[in-house]
């Protein structure tokens, strides 16, 4: 198994938002990756930038590396990597890909109308 080598590479596991203050409409986001592939890294940086821009202060990002916790793939029905799951607010939404199409990410997160 290659899990260990990838995990020890210090993949971004849990990243706390800059401001931990919780609001009623807090966003709980979960990013599923499989090791530090270029696509995963790109997705993570895209996500971070986007959240800072649109959700500053009320979001939470959890990064799950499936190479470390493969059993978690089943729970959120993950097939594609990277996948961003919006756990909150409900309903659950899934966004796949490296998140480089910002407009589609915003639509996926239901943020486009808020603008």
């Amino acid at each position: 198994m290659t899990t260990k080598t990838f995990a020890s590479n210090g993949s971004p596991r849990k990243v706390r938002p800059a401001s931990p203050a919780k609001k009623a409409d807090a966003f709980v986001l979960r990013l599923y990756v499989a090791g530090q592939t270029p696509k995963s890294l790109l997705a993570f940086s895209n996500l971070k930038k986007l959240c800072e821009e649109h959700l500053a202060g009320h979001y939470q990002i959890e990064v799950i590396d499936l190479l470390v916790d493969p059993q978690l793939a089943r729970g959120d029905q993950i097939l594609a990597i990277p996948t961003l799951v919006r756990k909150l607010p409900m309903p659950v939404r899934k966004i796949i890909g490296d998140l480089s199409n910002t407009e589609r990410v915003l639509i996926g997160l239901d943020l486009l109308e808020q603008k």
Binding site: L66, Q71, A73, A80, T83, K94, I95, I96, D98
Partner: protein
């Protein structure tokens, strides 16, 4: 040494993973290619999922190869319920770590694509499931749903190609199911990626009756049966009717089974059919096929044997009523539990289901004799080939079980030696009933077309249905042809008259002769009496003569004595007598 023995047949053969599915392993010469993916494709509802599931379940139970079922279409719960009707307890297998069912849920509307992605998540899930129980077998059912659930088919194609390669590297024997496409084998052309073994399932409706078939389209590096094989799905799961695989290894019995009609037994070498043979009774409408079948069943039950009557045209009560009219009471055997009727319309379900139900009834009831009345009603449209295959399978099965089987077959054209089904090669004893139209009436005739392995009569007999059952009579064959019915009776009367006249003639001649003899004897008696009388007279005369001679001698002696003559006097006396 067992290892060398085991190696020998598979010297140049691919390693294979037996499916445990009846018939499929024969067709594929041992199973699916081990460590490689196999594509199973077919239309909706043709049994892909079931085949795949049975592959896993049997693998887990019979071959100790745990399996992973990745379901893209049905939830774990649905799947468990669906196959529980086939006797598969998935929950138990999951508990014993023999099986992992992973339901993959994809909903297009919930997914937003925002750039490049891959299916690493799927790989990880599958890899995790495989590793968690050490699975040797994997099923992906139906992986093509990814195409409807995820955007960007180009990525999907590349990823699927990678997936199949990955499965090979993992060394698992995999089944990938795919929905049949319009032109290609699968909608998404999966056959391009999975090219080691391709099995196509088919569910055809012909004349409103469905039949299922299976075909191994391709099997790299192995020989395989190339035909389309019918298969069935019943309570015991999937079974492929691999006709060619049955072989001809049945034991041939020399025991005989009476036909129920004494004179018919006599036609068949005096003892009846062979045990475990297949008998065909063919004939046109109303020639008494069912009656002969009823006799056969009745005879078996009378001997205390068990019988199953598969009726496809009449209901049991109708058969029993009709047979009562010729003096056969089948009801009593049903009541005693010796006879079992199973009546269905041929159109009720497909051929394979018929085969399966017959199979089941025979296995459950363990009959000695079986009647199938009639076989031609299975022919609906142009499915003769299927029916023939089914009958072949049935005959082989019956032979294996040593069940004597009687089929009836309605033929359309009078006396031709063909059945509508080319089943004659399956049949050991073939009785033909026919109509004979002579002198303005129709009569029935019976003849033996063939009877393998016994000397049998080659004569046509007249076949009478009386109120005491079937009766066979000799027919008259003369310059006027074959005579039956009243023509036969007339001929019989004529012959009786001629016979009587002849007998009388003989008697008269005998009496005449007797008279002559007596007259002659009387004459002889008279002559003998005459002779006797003459003889007596002659004798008495001789006696007298002799008496007189002696007297003379005496007188001479006494005279000599008185004359004092010497002994020489005797000589003189004798000489005188001679003079």
């Amino acid at each position: 040494m067992p290892p060398t023995k085991k190696k020998q047949p598979s010297v140049r053969q691919l390693p294979k993973a037996p499916t445990g599915i009846q018939g499929l392993d024969e067709i594929t010469c041992g199973g699916l290619p081990r460590g490689r993916p196999t594509l199973v494709c077919g239309g909706a509802g043709c049994g892909k999922t079931l085949l795949a599931m049975e592959f896993l379940v049997r693998g887990a139970i019979q071959f100790n190869e745990p399996g992973v079922f990745m379901a893209f279409e049905e939830t774990t719960h649905d799947l468990t319920n669906n196959v529980s009707s086939l006797g598969f307890d998935l929950e138990d297998l999951v508990r014993r770590k023999k099986l992992v069912i992973d339901y993959v849920y994809i909903e297009r509307s919930e997914i937003e694509e925002t750039g490049e992605y891959d299916l690493e998540g799927l790989f990880i899930r599958l890899g995790h499931a495989i590793d968690s129980i050490g699975a040797k077998r994997v099923v992906l059912d139906t992986v093509e749903s990814l195409f409807s659930g995820l955007p960007n088919p180009l990525i999907l194609r590349a990823e699927l190609r990678r997936l199949f390669r990955w499965l090979k590297d993992k060394g698992v024997t995999a089944i990938i199911t795919g929905e049949r496409g319009d032109e290609a084998l699968t909608r998404q052309g999966l056959e391009e990626y999975v090219s080691d073994c391709v099995i196509v399932l088919d569910h055809r409706i012909s004349e409103q009756v469905s039949s299922r078939r299976l075909r191994v389209v391709k099997y790299r590096g192995s020989t395989h049966g190339t035909n389309e094989y019918p298969f069935l799905i019943d309570e015991t799961g999937f079974s492929v009717v691999a006709v060619t695989s049955l072989g001809l290894k049945q034991e041939a019995s020399t025991k005989r089974v009476p036909t129920g009609v004494t004179r018919l037994d006599a036609m068949l070498g005096g003892a009846g059919y062979y045990l475990g043979s297949s008998v065909l009774v063919s004939g046109t409408a109303g020639t008494g096929k069912s009656s002969l079948a009823a006799h056969f069943v009745d005879g078996a039950c009378r001997r205390g044997e068990r019988a199953v009557y598969f009726a496809f045209e009449e209901s049991p009560s109708q058969i029993m009523r009709n047979m009562r009219s010729i003096g056969i009471d089948l009801q009593q055997w049903v009541r005693k539990g010796l006879l079992h009727f199973q009546a269905t319309r041929p159109t009720f379900f497909g051929l394979e289901m018929h085969l399966a139900t017959m199979h089941k009834a025979v296995t459950a009831f363990k009959p000695h004799v079986v009647v199938i009345d009639p076989i031609n009603s299975f022919i609906i449209g142009g499915n003769e080939v299927d029916v023939r295959a089914m009958l072949m399978r049935l005959v082989d099965f019956m032979k294996m079980k040593q069940v004597t089987c009687l089929f009836t077959n309605l033929t359309s054209s009078g006396t031709s030696g063909n059945t509508d089904l080319a089943v004659s090669s399956l049949i050991d004893t073939w009785l033909q009933l026919r109509d004979m139209e002579i002198g303005g009436e129709r009569n029935r005739g019976i003849s033996l077309l063939k009877s393998r392995g016994m000397s049998h009569s080659n004569q046509i007999r007249e076949f009478l249905l009386t109120d005491r059952g079937v009766d066979l009579r000799d027919v008259y064959v003369g310059p006027e042809g074959v005579l039956t019915g009243s023509a036969r009776l007339a001929q019989e009367a004529r012959e009786t008259a001629a016979q009587t006249a002849h007998e009388q003639d003989v008697e008269r001649k005998r009496i005449e002769l007797e008279g002559k003899r007596r007259a002659l004897e009387a004459q002889i008696a008279v002559m003998r009496a005459d002779l006797d009388a003459q003889e007596a007279e002659t004798l008495s005369r001789l006696e007298q003569e002799q008496g007189r001679g002696r007297q003379l001698a005496k007188e001479r002696v006494s005279m000599g004595l008185s004359r004092k003559a010497d002994v020489g006097g005797k000589t003189t006396g004798q000489r005188r007598q001679a003079e």
